[in-house]
């Protein structure tokens, strides 16, 4: 019996490692690592303290703090801001419902979105254009997300309806933004008044949505059995991938007007969007092609054995499987497109960076405050793209891509 009690004592789990054990194991496991740790600590201390000192005592945030609306929507008429508010509410509702219907990652996205709007609502400086009502409306979006979350539980809202709603929300927001000649309430707001983060998002979302179908077509064309079509698609993809985006933007803004008959005038924003779409299509095509390659050929053979046509095989069997594998790289592509929208400032499209640069020139006193403005823009981009890449990693694990 003594042996039993002995073995019991030896079977007892070891003491949970204390904080000192962890430190010794991860930071000071050899003399070299010890030195590295100390050097890193000193480095971190200097960087962080320098940064904090700069942010709170040396930097002058006036060109950022005074014009929050310019950074968000540019010169969009201030009496028409309710239209943008409506769009925000719509997306809050959709995000809330999707959060309930699908997975937790949409919740993280929704909360980030709400957090962003809350930050705007409690913007830490008095701005005359940012009235109390606008601030209240921004803050109310948190409530709207909650309402959406509750509504999402109802069985009337199926995933299919939600997907359709997401698709139509894009069209609806465009109509709300631009206006329509049919309704007096929605008077037309020309695109040269749009600006800031609004334009950045329009460029990024617009080009990824528009380029995706072109990308699918190019990817299918590139693996076609017909040499002519294969050559055309391959040449397009490789040529676009071989040149920098800025050259395509220049082409679309300088040469495209020449390519079209003189009576066709295209808006500057549309031209930039077109350039980004043509650019992004080549990258979409390569992503889709990767997805197509991931579908085992046995699937096609099985479908053929069942007597399906090539069209049916592609549309109903290969594509759905390929697209599932394509979601993570497409999100990655979207993030890089989102960052690349800054290049559109080179062709005078008033996106976030160009708004920042024009703020700097709006007052001679601001010219030396470049660090503050660019730093603010960098932070905005960082938060948004970090959230998206975080979401994409979660989607990847939830879809189980690469775990077969």
């Amino acid at each position: 019996m003594t042996t039993a009690s002995e073995s019991q004592s030896s079977l007892r789990p070891p003491e949970p490692p204390g904080i000192m054990t962890w430190v010794r194991k991860n930071l000071f496991n050899s003399w070299f690592n010890g030195i590295l740790t100390i050097v890193s600590l000193v480095l971190i201390f200097f960087i962080v303290s320098g940064l904090i000192r700069w942010i709170f005592t040396q930097a002058d945030w006036e060109p950022v703090l005074k014009f929050p609306l310019n950074y968000m929507v540019g010169q969009y008429p201030r009496d028409q801001l309710w239209r943008i508010g409506l769009i925000l509410v719509m997306y809050s509702l959709l995000l809330g419902m999707s959060w309930r219907k699908w997975s937790g990652i949409l919740g993280v996205l929704g909360l980030t979105y709400a957090g962003f709007l809350l930050f705007m609502a409690f913007w830490p400086a008095p701005v005359p254009t940012l009235t109390f009502w606008i601030r209240a409306a921004l803050a109310a979006n948190l409530g709207v997300i909650a309402v959406g979350y509750l509504l999402g539980g109802s069985r009337w809202i199926s995933p299919r309806i939600l997907l359709i709603a997401w698709f139509f929300s894009l069209l609806l927001s465009l109509i709300l933004l631009y206006g329509t000649p049919l309704l007096d309430v929605l008077r037309i707001v020309p695109t040269n008044l749009w600006g800031g983060l609004l334009v950045t998002l329009i460029l990024a979302i617009g080009s990824i949505v528009l380029s995706f179908p072109i990308g699918v077509a190019l990817a299918l064309g590139r693996r076609s059995s017909l040499p002519m079509i294969r050559v055309i698609c391959t040449v397009y993809i490789e040529a676009i991938r071989g040149v920098p985006l800025i050259s395509i933007l220049f082409m679309s803004s300088l040469i495209l007007p020449l390519f079209l008959p003189t009576e066709m005038r295209i808006d500057r924003l549309i031209r930039a969007l077109l350039g980004m779409t043509l650019f992004s299509a080549a990258y979409s095509a390569e992503n889709v092609r990767g997805g197509l390659a991931a579908v085992p050929y046995g699937q096609t053979e099985a479908a053929k054995a069942l007597g399906h046509s090539n069209f049916q095989i592609t549309a109903l069997i290969v594509m759905p499987q390929a697209l599932r594998a394509v979601i993570p790289p497409i999100v990655g592509q979207f993030i890089s497109l989102f960052k690349d929208t800054t290049l559109a400032s080179g062709v005078a499209v008033l996106e976030l960076l160009l708004v920042g640069r024009s703020m700097l020139q709006s007052d001679p006193a601001y010219i030396r405050l470049q660090m503050e403005v660019f730093g603010f823009i960098a932070v905005v981009f960082w938060i948004l793209s970090y959230m998206m890449s975080h979401a994409s990693r979660r989607i990847e694990t939830e879809l189980g891509v690469g775990e077969r």
């Binding site: 690592n33 040499p227 040149v243 390519f259 003189t262 069209f311 660019f374 981009f381």
Partner: protein, 410 residues
């Protein structure tokens, strides 16, 4: 419908046996005959593409006529008339547009090549830090990588440019780095080796030594691999690489190169190799940004090596350096090289952002040309052609290298 179906058939799908078609040729009407349809699909697509191009070109010609623009490339011979901030070739505004363009191409290539070199080094350091057993160092590397991956390069470049313009001391109070290298508002002034008049034999022997060393390496290594006899290829080519230049050094009377030291005179430095703040900002921005991506690519490659390989190598008693050089790196390289190629190409393409900070690369020269001479169409075609050939050439060379590495796979 059948046309679409045909287009959608993947390339590697087995062909329908042609005997079938021949057998039933008489029964099948030509609009359902697959061979006719295949040709028809291709002819139609070719006509559509050519038609679109033709339509566009006609429009360009019409627009050019209306606005009195010329579409020829003759203007390239005319004198450019604008100054260029920095050039490795002798340049003045009376030179032709073509020559100015060449200067721009060289400037772009300069920043791209130097950038690839340093980005690789910094990226390697990034990986070492990221995979370090020290938690803190690994976290710092992670923060560095995530910082750069989520901010647009253009914003980072503008911040760096601002640092180089306003954050550095004036010329009189330059920061002196060993070399000496002077760092100030006007950029970097490096001490630079320059050839003396009797330095030619030295240059010849150095080039000869590099060529011979590579040949010896390749040839002797092949013998070693075939016969299994050790040929000491590494030592021999290293010996060539050291001995020949020494001979050249003695031949050129012991003084083949002299150090061209930048000297402060008045408000400027004279001599040395001068790098503008634009170049410095562009280089630092490109290098730090690309290094973050390279670090991720290399990390993925190293972690893709099967753990069993590492354990097996340990159990047969390989030393740590053997483990790295014979087991991990050769296998990781296969995974690393393709994405690494695309990172290098990205760096080259991203160097076009030089235009935003005024570094005279291809784009800057191109845009100045458009402002001076009009001719947007020709200039943009030229710019795209240059980038496309750089990209295709680089990917061609690196793909050949990649294929050689992949061949090792068993």
């Amino acid at each position: 419908m059948r046309l679409i179906s045909l287009i959608l058939r993947p390339n590697f799908a087995p062909e329908k046996s042609t005997t079938n078609a021949i057998q039933f040729q008489s029964q099948v009407p030509f609009w359902r005959d697959e061979r006719v349809l295949r040709i028809a699909a291709q002819v139609i697509s070719a006509i559509v593409v050519i038609g679109l191009l033709y339509w566009g070109i006609i429009n360009v010609i019409n627009a050019a006529e209306q606005r009195g623009l010329s579409l020829g490339f003759g203007f390239l011979q005319e004198s450019a008339g604008f100054p260029i901030g920095e050039s490795d070739l002798p340049y003045d505004p009376s030179r032709s547009f073509l020559y100015a363009f060449l200067v721009g191409v060289l400037n772009t290539l300069k920043v791209a090549i130097v950038g690839v070199f340093f980005a690789t080094i910094l990226g390697t350091f990034g990986v070492i830090a990221r995979l370090s057993s020290n938690w803190l160092v690994s976290r710092i590397a992670l923060v560095y990588i995530e910082f750069h991956r989520n901010i647009p390069l253009l914003v980072l470049l503008l911040i760096w440019f601002n640092v180089f313009i306003t954050g550095l001391p004036s010329v009189e109070q330059s920061i002196v780095l060993p070399g000496p290298i002077y760092l100030n508002q006007r950029g970097l002034q490096l001490t630079w080796p320059r050839l003396t008049p009797h330095g030619t034999p030295f240059v010849i022997t150095v080039i000869l030594a590099i060529v011979l060393a590579i040949l010896a390496w390749v040839y002797l290594r092949r013998i070693q691999e075939r016969t299994g006899r050790s040929t000491y290829f590494a030592f021999i080519s290293l010996g060539i690489l050291i001995l020949l230049p020494i001979i050249g050094f003695l031949l050129s009377s012991g003084e083949p190169l002299r150090a061209d030291v930048p000297v402060l005179s008045g408000f400027n430095f004279i001599g040395g190799y001068d790098l503008s703040p634009e170049f410095a900002a562009l280089l630092v921005g490109l290098v730090t940004y690309t290094a973050a991506f390279i670090a991720e690519v290399v990390r993925a490659g190293i972690q893709a090596v099967d753990r069993g390989q590492l354990e097996a190598a340990r159990s047969v008693g390989l030393s740590y350096s053997q483990l790295l050089s014979l087991v991990i790196i050769p296998q990781a390289l296969r995974v690393i090289i393709p994405p690494l190629i695309s990172q290098y190409l990205n760096l080259t393409k991203n160097s076009s952002l030089a235009i935003f900070i005024g570094y005279p690369g291809i784009f800057f020269i191109g845009k100045t040309t458009i402002n001076q001479a009009g001719r947007a169409v020709q200039v943009i075609v030229l710019i795209m052609a240059v980038y496309l050939s750089i990209s295709l050439l680089t990917s061609l060379i690196l793909n050949i290298y990649n294929r050689r590495i992949q061949l090792v796979e068993r």
